[in-house]
Each structure stands twice: as C-alpha cells, then as structure tokens.
Amino acid sequence: MHLTDDQLNEYLDEVTTERAVIESHLDSCDECTARLSTLQNLFIELDSLPELELTRDLAARFFPRPSLPAQLPKFLTLTASLQAAVALAAIIIAVPFIVPLMPAIDASSLTTLFFEVQSQWTTSLNFLSTFQMPTMPEIPTLEMSSLLITLAGASVLWVLGNGLLLRNQMK
C-alpha cells in the first residue's frame, strides 16, 4: 500500500507525526519516492521564483518632492527693479541729446552714412579731447558729461546686477 498525498505533503511541510513510518516506506517504494521527488521539485521551483521589478518607486510619495527653482532673494529682486528704473531714467535723459544728432545723419546710402558717422565720431573725439569741465560753461558739454556718467553708471549697475543674478543661478 502506497503513501497518500496528504502523508507526502505533511512530510515535506514537516508537520507529520509519522515521519519514521513514511521514511521506512520510502526506502522500499520507488513509486512513492518518485511522487515525493516531484513534490520536492515543485517546492524548489516555487521557492526559487525570481522577484519581478516594480515599474515605479512606491517610496517616492514619502520623500519630499523636488522643490521648485529657488526664488531670487529679495535684495536681488530689488536690484533688478532698480536696474530697470535706472536704465529707463538713462534713456529718458539721453533722448534729448541724441535726437538733435539724428537729423544730421543722412541714411541715403551706407557709404555716406558710414562716413558721416565716422565724421561725427571724430568730431566727438575732438570735442572730448578739448573737454575741460570747470572751464566749459557750455550747457551741452555739461549735459553730455552728465549723459556719459549716467550711461556709465547704468552700465555698471546692469553688469553688477546680472553678475549677481548669474552667480545665484550657478549655485
């Protein structure tokens, strides 16, 4: 008489109370040994079933979400606003000085334009070379000087401001 399925299962699950009887039978019965072997192989295969990978990270919701790009510090925002204001003021101041120069430029041809700009530039350089602030009572000279100073100041502020902004981004 062969072992039952229950006996073989309980033997492998190590819950049988008749271990010695079963082992004694297995020693002399090839058929039951083969059935036990089949069952043992199943156990091994179930145990060795590889784990599947997840397609998403379940832990993600428990970690802080990546923060949005940090906002600019308040003082830098203020600097940017200040730059804009200074640039605007510089343009407003510069317009009355630049507009009178515009009609003098005849844009009929590029060559003419080039020579005229060159001529204007030479004139300006000559003018600047003779520039002496305390002894020049002419208003346009003083205004030109103010214009240059304003533009230079605006440029410096612009460069500084952008430098600070870029440095912040690099961090």
Binding site: N9, L49, T55, L58, A59, F63
Partner: protein, 178 residues
C-alpha cells in the same frame, strides 16, 4: 556610516520623519509588490495595492509592535489586502499579458530561467483564487496550517485540502510542460 535598522526607521517615522518611512518602503517595496503580484497576477493592480499597503502601514505606524519584524508583518498585510481585494472582486481577473515583463536586459543564458519562471507564474495564475491564497501564505509567507486557517477564516481541513490540491495541479501543469 551604518545602515539604520528597521526599528530605527520605524521609531523615526513615529516621530514624524516621513523620509524614514520612505527608506523602509524602499527596502520592502519589491517583496511587497511580489506578494501582491503572486496573488493578483495583474501588474498595475499589484502596484496600486502595494502602494496602498504602505500608505495604510504609515497611517498605523504608531500601533505597530516594535518588537515584531517589519518585513514579515508588511508582507502579511499585503497578502491580507490582496485576498480581501480578490474576495470583493469575483470572478478573478484575467492574466496580465505583460506579467513577466523583465525590464532589465538579461543575457541569453538567463532565457531558460525566465521561460521557466513564466511557466510557474502561469501555472500559479491558473489556480482558483482560494488555492492561490493558501499557496502564497504557505510557501511565501511561511505560515503554518493553523495560521492560514485563522487568516482565511476557514477550517484546518480546508487549508490542507486546498493546499495539497493546489500543489497537485501545479505539479501536473509544470510536469506536463517539461
């Protein structure tokens, strides 16, 4: 720097460190997902329920007995949740076509192992849900017959008959496919 123990992470999570619980999830998410997958046999559903397991565990982290091992406990919670889910969703869902999609490229030598795994998963998936449940609890959760009976609220004799019958079916299917 030493790796924190489960106990450390649980204590930190109890103090409100959400990231500490995140570290626990990272540690156990794969095994929990695989419990869900073996029972449900549908990837999307298994991932959703695995996520649900951790959310529930986090909500109840203050009631967790710190002397217990977290791994077996969370896997048992997962098994319970999936079995309840199956119970509320009869008939059982169809097999997922992509159930064994392996996302990592594997060498040709691993092909046979993958094919055999596919056969085993297929055989498991073909079992009725109540057979699948006892196989999961016995073979993967390593529960005793009595614990399974308690867990599933069925008589001990049913546990044995379901389990032995399930094994017979599996052995026949896998032996036939050899």
């Amino acid at each position: 720097m030493t790796t924190p123990t489960d106990r450390d992470l649980i204590l930190r999570a109890r103090r409100g460190e959400r990231e500490a619980f995140g570290a626990l999830v990272t540690r156990y998410q794969m095994s929990v997902f695989n419990v869900c997958y073996r029972i449900l046999h549908e990837r999307g559903e298994a991932e959703d329920l695995a996520q649900e397991v951790f959310i529930r565990a986090y909500d109840r982290i203050h009631t967790f007995d710190i002397e217990r091992e977290f791994g077996p406990w969370i896997r048992r919670v997962a098994a319970n949740l999936c079995l309840n889910h199956l119970e509320s969703q009869k008939p059982t869902t169809e097999l997922d076509d992509e159930r064994d999609a392996d996302h990592a490229p594997s060498p040709e030598s691993a092909q046979e192992v993958r094919e055999r795994s596919e056969q085993i998963r297929g055989a498991l998936a073909s079992l009725p849900a109540h057979y699948r449940a006892v196989v999961e609890l016995r073979h993967y959760q390593e529960m005793s017959y009595e614990e399974i009976a308690e867990e599933l609220k069925i008589p001990l004799s049913d546990v044995k008959s379901h389990l032995f019958r399930a094994r017979k079916i599996l052995a026949e299917k896998l032996h036939a496919s050899d």
